[in-house]
Symmetry: C2
Subunit: 157 residues, 2 copies
DNA sequence: TTGACTCGGACATGGGTTGTCCGGGTACGT
DNA sequence: ACGTACCCGGACAACCCATGTCCGAGTCAA
């Protein structure tokens, strides 16, 4: 899985409850990561419609929906794409005992298992929202840390 | 996910019920894939203990256990490794609001979600065995095709 | 109108998977 | 007992995608 997924998720968490747009450079400074590469991940979120970009001075990114309405799966699919990890190359149609194409209208047994596992994985990621993650942060390091961090992010130099 | 997983799974299915060792070259010919690259996957299965290699003339590969005792997950982990897809880089310990290392003894909320999804994925793959796959093949293309294919594989030129 | 700040897509680089090869070792035939 | 032929095993390149970077188009504030 792409490493940018982690960055994007952390960004979504700190964007929770933010009313003013936040520039990508500030998010990068807060997380101490490459600003240009983080920008790419945020562009992916924008393309997926999870965040709205505001241009010009005082511009930046804002969540388009409430954090409760954004699942972890939404972010993962926005950054890494919606394609399943396993792709069947139909090797049953090759070799001396090749199956006829008409017998391959339905996916083979291996593919079915992979699709089912993929579904379970996505279902698990769908069960948690960004708001849930923010709540976990509050429970782990204290309820006051997230608002303090957001205040630091909101101030413009 | 590595494409070699698909090859390895197909090989395990055709090895079901085989009593004589099968050379990698013959498995490659049957599936019409690169013999040398397929050999690499079989070596991975051998390292994981799923198959036993027999050297010398009339050598090849044999399953070490009954097909009912080999899960799809076993094969996937043997080829692609047991490492989880998501790796936490602990960016919460970086930047101006870095969390103290002692506060990070437990994984962060994002990592917890990823671990749980990974667990669900593996659990789903563990539920199906190679024997189940062989049964699906018999149900899809007829019960006589698999034994006929195995007979073709067993004959030595 | 000016200016400066923002995002967006197009451009290099590096590690990992894919693909290949030859040597060590083993069992069979003589 | 020896020679031989076959098979597996780990070491060696080539390609591709993810990582990382840059500059131009657009936009809002002053």
């Amino acid at each position: 899985m792409s490493g940018g997924v982690e960055w994007a998720l952390h960004c979504c968490v700190v964007l929770t409850g933010m009313t003013e747009p936040v520039p990508a450079a500030r998010l990068a400074e807060f997380h101490d990561v490459s600003p240009t590469y983080l920008a790419k991940q945020l562009q992916a979120l924008s393309r997926a419609g999870l965040v709205r970009s505001v241009q010009g001075q005082a511009g930046g990114y804002v969540l388009t929906r409430a954090a409760e309405e954004i699942s972890v799966l939404d972010v993962v699919e926005a950054v890494d794409g919606r394609a399943p990890a396993f792709v069947c190359t139909e090797i049953r149609q090759r070799g001396p005992f090749a199956a006829t194409p008409e017998a391959c209208r339905t996916p083979c047994g291996i593919t079915k298992v992979m699709i089912e596992a993929d579904r379970a994985w996505r279902e698990s990621l769908r069960a948690t929202s960004i708001a849930d993650l923010a709540g976990t942060v509050a429970r782990d390091v204290g309820a006051e840390t997230l608002p303090r961090a957001q205040a630091w992010i909101a101030q413009r130099d």
